[in-house]
């Protein structure tokens, strides 16, 4: 990546960020408020349903919500990244993948703000994760990013060809939310549903990260490692797909 490309990426991220939060009264506080509100609603509803079956349920739910919001933001931003910049793309020839990467980096920035909330919650519950646990958390986030970016390269192209993908993706993300152990613990699921949830890569990443950070346990280590390798391969394939298709779809914008 040349200096010019880096600066272009930086300006894309800066612009996105300014546009999103400059004109609202609470500014970028919304970044933190949105997942917190989701968390609160979920907490009220599901702590009643699940009772006290999960230790540190608030923390469990919060961490899951914030991680899921992160993943959701990457893919939704990625989905819209090309169409959003279509005017630019029809006039200037910059490296197209920067548009996708730039839009996903916004999700990373938002996540760092939410980390503050997570730290406060941990302090409130008097839990101090070990350095290894923190490292595991960072690794988990990294896998989520790699997976999300891979999906983004793929669906950003598809979105240019199929403009209703946005609605389909929204529904898909809602279904995926409930197929990931965020509001419920994995131990509560039995029977055939378990296969479905087990087939979801997010389940393993979430389980691995959360168990380490909250309960100081190592779980789903090998499956997460496999998912990490698969995500890297998927990212490579989808980037190749993106590079091959991007020039051909220029006239479909």
């Amino acid at each position: 990546m040349t200096k010019t490309d880096k600066d272009l990426l930086l300006e894309f991220v800066k612009t996105d960020f300014t546009l999103r939060y400059n004109n609202s009264i609470l500014g970028f506080l919304w970044v933190v408020i949105k997942p917190l509100l989701t968390f609160t609603v979920m907490y009220v509803v599901f702590s009643l349903l699940l009772g006290g079956s999960v230790k540190f349920y608030a923390l469990y739910l919060l961490l899951g919500t914030i991680m899921y919001t992160f993943f959701q933001e990457i893919t939704i931003n990625g989905l819209n990244s090309l169409l959003q910049k279509k005017d630019m793309m029809l006039k200037v020839n910059f490296k197209r993948y920067l548009a996708v990467v730039g839009s996903t980096l916004i999700a990373v920035i938002n996540l760092t703000f939410n980390l503050v909330v997570i730290i406060i919650f941990f302090a409130f519950n008097k839990i101090l994760p070990s350095p290894l646990d923190v490292l595991i958390f960072i690794f988990g986030i990294f896998i989520l990013y790699i997976l999300g970016l891979g999906i983004s390269f793929f669906i950003s192209i598809l979105h240019v060809l199929f403009r209703d993908l946005q609605h389909i993706w929204d529904i898909f993300m809602l279904v995926l939310f409930y197929l990931t152990p965020i509001v419920y613990p994995l131990s509560l699921i039995k029977g055939k549903t378990l296969y479905l949830i087990d087939a979801n890569p997010l389940t393993h990443i979430f389980n691995f990260t959360r168990e380490a950070l909250i309960y100081n346990k190592i779980e789903s280590f090998y499956s997460t490692l496999v998912i990490f390798v698969l995500s890297l391969i998927f990212l490579y394939i989808s980037y190749r797909f993106f590079s091959k298709k991007i020039m051909k779809i220029a006239e479909d914008f």
């Binding site: 600066d7 930086l10 612009t15 029809l90 910059f94 209703d164 020039m247 479909d252």
Partner: protein, 389 residues
Amino acid sequence: MAKKVIEVNNITKNFKIPIERRTQLKDYFIHPLRKAKYRSFVALKDVSFSITEGEFVGIIGRNGSGKSTLLKIISNIYLPNKGEVTVNGKLIPFLELGVGFNPELTAKDNIYLNGVILGLTRDQIKNKYNSIIEFSELQGFEETQLKNFSSGMQVRLAFSIAIQAEGDIYLLDEVLAVGDLSFQQKCFDMFRKLKKDGKTIVFVSHSMGAIEEFCDRVILLEKGSIKDEGKAFGVLQKYNEISFHRIEKKDEVKSNDKFKIKLFNSKNEEISIFKSSEIMRIVLDYKLERKIQNPNIEFIITRDDGTVITSISSYNKFNVDQLENLGKIQFEIDSINFISSEYFISLVIYNKDLTEQIVSIERIKNFKVFSSNNNIKGFFEIAGKWSNI
């Protein structure tokens, strides 16, 4: 031999225009087996040319002749269906001013955003920031959102950033179409500077004056292929013929009377592009099946927007007994000192007392004038002399 910086080899570009638009997945669920129908539109057909370093090349052609598509293929925005383009050197496309401008951002943010899109680094923009603000005359508005700027201010800002871009090859697509006279003057100054610095420039424009002034070579596109190529004056002549051919067809005279107007210069060449101060002979060539007694002939010269520049009437000046069979009548203008533009001649033939129009043909002929003096306001330069007394 000079280095070739752009080589275009046998470029063909088709656009698929869907008859039935399919941009939604839904459509594939509703009619999974029906194939989408397309109409193919050939935008460019087997176009080849090359441009050497330091050349200023103009591309002209009517709307839809493929000029913009060609620029987009050279800029690597569209892929051609066939053929290939080689570009040696850093290419800066100006297909539009202010690409990426966002109305919600401040002028400062927009300068950085537009700058990096044009290939500058943030450090370079930082160094040039003051001169950009100064040149655009926007001191004190740096933190104002772009949406609060007038369109003139926006164009000024965009242009000020554009001139800071550093490349070897510039593609300019009708950048001059916007802005007032003083802005256009600034654009011309920029062109002169680029030309002086030895940059290669490809320039698409409808402004014949600018093409004539700057271009070493002009390429004429018509329906996606190269119709003519060479020195500006000759190619523009050809372009004018093509354009006029279209107009002539539209205004065909229905009766059997035939009127034609031809324009000649002092060397007795029939042309349609004149340099101001040249002699212009307007020749009316007629073929009639009836007699018109004591006609008064009038040529009305208008601009494209319909503004009448002047009219030339034979009333009280020149007596014609009658028009019959074949014949020619001419009016000689000593020097056609109009400002650079395109003009149209309409023909009207009145009866003896100007009470009735016998013949009226609008825009029977068009012509263009190039004036080297671009400082004149209004429509034409008045003949006269300055002196001390």
